[in-house]
Symmetry: C2
């Protein structure tokens, strides 16, 4: 287990003391180069401190951030983030999708770790400007149906080992064409979370987009990847309620025990799941289109409208529905992975296989994916969710 | 609420593009100066990457760390830390206290967020060397009974927005004479945690020293500070079990409902509290000295030996014990605050007052504090817990 370790000879520990070159610390610590990170060549920087408030945002060349070793973010995880895509529409226009919701959520997430608040509209304005600048080069006209991924991040930079609210913070945004989100296959295989690991808890912070929600999931996630699964399906409570798939929301389409055709996802009542913007948009679109029969035609098939339901649903209910032929489809949703079908859930030694109809044969998953694609790429935006930039 | 915010004029957003000065990003981001952080003038650096393993540790001038904006630690809170003190003994020798336990715990904490493991003895060796170098200047001979605080920190530095285990990490140690740990008064006032906020849960990571355990406590902590309390007393479960006081372990000394004279602290069975090294040492010392009647003399008073008990204890049990006169003392323990008496707990509108006998009048808290002081400052180390450096 320890075979990769060389033995440290503490007597040989070098003392490199160059007072005349205080910035020399940069050289020995080697962050990965830009080519490995896939980020574009700019970063948006917006700084805050307790005395003077928010400064003027600036767009600068991409590069490492100088962060003090005792900074709040490194010691106490005062950090939150968002995921936003810039879409190059089928009409060649650039669009952002409901980013006011991202900006509002980022205020809430910031406040959950005592980072300073800000006006969501201010962040929206500067992100839009940054998106336009970066997309001009990295998502140029002609790349119809492609996206550029933006990652707003807010961190506490106060250098103090005493545990206290940050008195300095840095909000920054980077952009990438290669966010590193991919699945091995068209339908995901999910592994239910180990019995001894819980992602979030009522009274915790599962509903805030904090870094603190993700690092502690990596043990289970890595175990899943090594066993050829794509993501962990996080269960909650003795009932084994399904909550999130990896960092995405999770949906099933089923005939309920009472016989109703439903699309179901976990509710927000106990604060353990993230209120995904894709999640919310799916529920709203399903409800909006429920009376429009023509909206439910896919691959020349007329599907019956779904009833959107938010409620706790357990892995046992899913197992029962599969064995009784009542479970039609399942998918994960989020900005990064968009809408990805789930073809199998492995739970405590048992495979739960879920049908994944091809796009051609027509399925609710592909229908909903089409609805959303049409919105973000500018074909049909019935609820006014996008803005061109 | 938003009055500190100026309105952002996005059209005025500056684009500062200087490809010829890639490191210029350093200048506009202003981390607090060294004088504000109180750190000494060196940092110990130990780098790891997946391909070549651990490099050679180096001691370098203290300064900001260059961290990529997409680094794992900034996005996903892959970070853990330790707190260690160097003690200048009454014999003028420098001592470290049970740091093998810190190093073992740091391996466990690292692995909880998929940071790489290492041999605890290697870390122990390099920390000892760093401690000796820094103490020579900052804790020189003559400062008997004083300490220098060390903060080992381990962070994931891989620059990738895709959620994955870190492939690069940085373990560093800084030292400070001013860690920013202080209480307003000799006996702490604790405020019980709000009903809607839980610090840690079974299946979570409360027993690992992760940054992720601390940032989300700042909302409640700041509320407590503003109401003139020193720390939050974290409750758990519908029973309201007391778990930790701020980032310290919590002890009561009482006559149990069954009539036994006990020192009680929360157990480790469900993984929600940190296994503090001071906590463990207190329990071990109480047990070791239980049969030595002469060890229990303080301020010329002979106290009865305590029985050390690890079990869940609820705030209601504490309230009942106070009202029945069975609660003798309470204190918090940890490396930073050492042993600090608790004089009041405020719970849901009610003050629970606890006696805090003066050191002169003699109390269990001051007796135990003396035992531990004698160990760390080299007067009496019956269990061989210290090493001179």
């Amino acid at each position: 287990m320890m075979d990769f370790l060389h033995s440290v000879d503490s007597a040989a520990l070098k003392l490199v003391d160059r007072r005349s070159e205080p910035n020399d610390l940069k050289s020995p610590i080697q962050p990965p180069s830009d080519s490995q990170t896939g980020c574009t060549d700019h970063i948006l920087i917006w700084q805050w401190n307790e005395l003077s408030g928010w400064g003027h945002p600036e767009i600068r060349p991409y590069g490492p951030l100088p962060i003090m070793p005792s900074a709040s973010v490194l010691q106490y995880a005062t950090a939150c983030f968002e995921g936003i895509k810039v879409y190059r529409g089928y009409d060649d226009k650039l669009r952002l999708f409901r980013i006011s919701l991202n900006c509002e959520r980022m205020v809430k997430s910031s406040m959950r770790v005592k980072l300073p608040e800000f006006a969501p509209a201010d962040l929206e304005a500067i992100i839009s400007r940054f998106a336009a600048i970066e997309a001009e080069k990295w998502l140029p006209p002609g790349l119809k149906g492609k996206t550029l991924y933006l990652r707003p991040t807010h961190i506490g930079t106060t250098a103090s080992l005493g545990l206290q609210k940050p008195r300095h913070s840095l909000l920054y945004v980077v952009a990438t064409l290669l966010p590193g989100f991919s699945t091995k296959r068209s339908g995901m295989r999910l592994l239910t979370s180990p019995a001894n690991t819980i992602r979030a808890w009522p009274g915790g912070f599962g509903n805030a987009k904090l870094g603190a929600n993700y690092g502690p999931t990596l043990v289970a996630h890595d175990e899943a990847i090594r066993s050829d699964f794509d993501q962990i399906l996080w269960l909650s409570g003795p009932e084994g309620y399904v909550t999130e798939a990896g960092a995405s929301n999770f949906f099933v389409i089923w005939i309920s025990p009472g016989g109703e055709l439903q699309i179901v996802t976990a509710g927000l009542h106990n604060g353990i799941i993230l209120e995904g913007i894709t999640r919310r948009s799916i529920l709203e679109l399903v409800r909006y289109k429920s009376l429009q029969e023509e909206a439910w035609i896919v691959a020349n098939r007329q599907l019956k409208p779904l009833t959107a339901v938010e409620r706790d649903i357990s892995i046992q209910e899913i197992q029962a529905a599969v064995s009784e032929g009542r479970l039609l489809e399942a998918f994960a949703s989020g900005t990064a992975y968009f809408i990805t079908p789930v073809e199998q859930i492995h739970h405590r030694g048992q495979d739960i296989d879920i049908a994944t109809p091809s796009e051609e044969s027509g399925s609710y998953t592909s229908l909903i994916k089409n609805w959303l694609s049409n919105v973000v790429y500018g074909r049909d935006d019935p609820l006014g969710w996008t803005q061109t930039i």
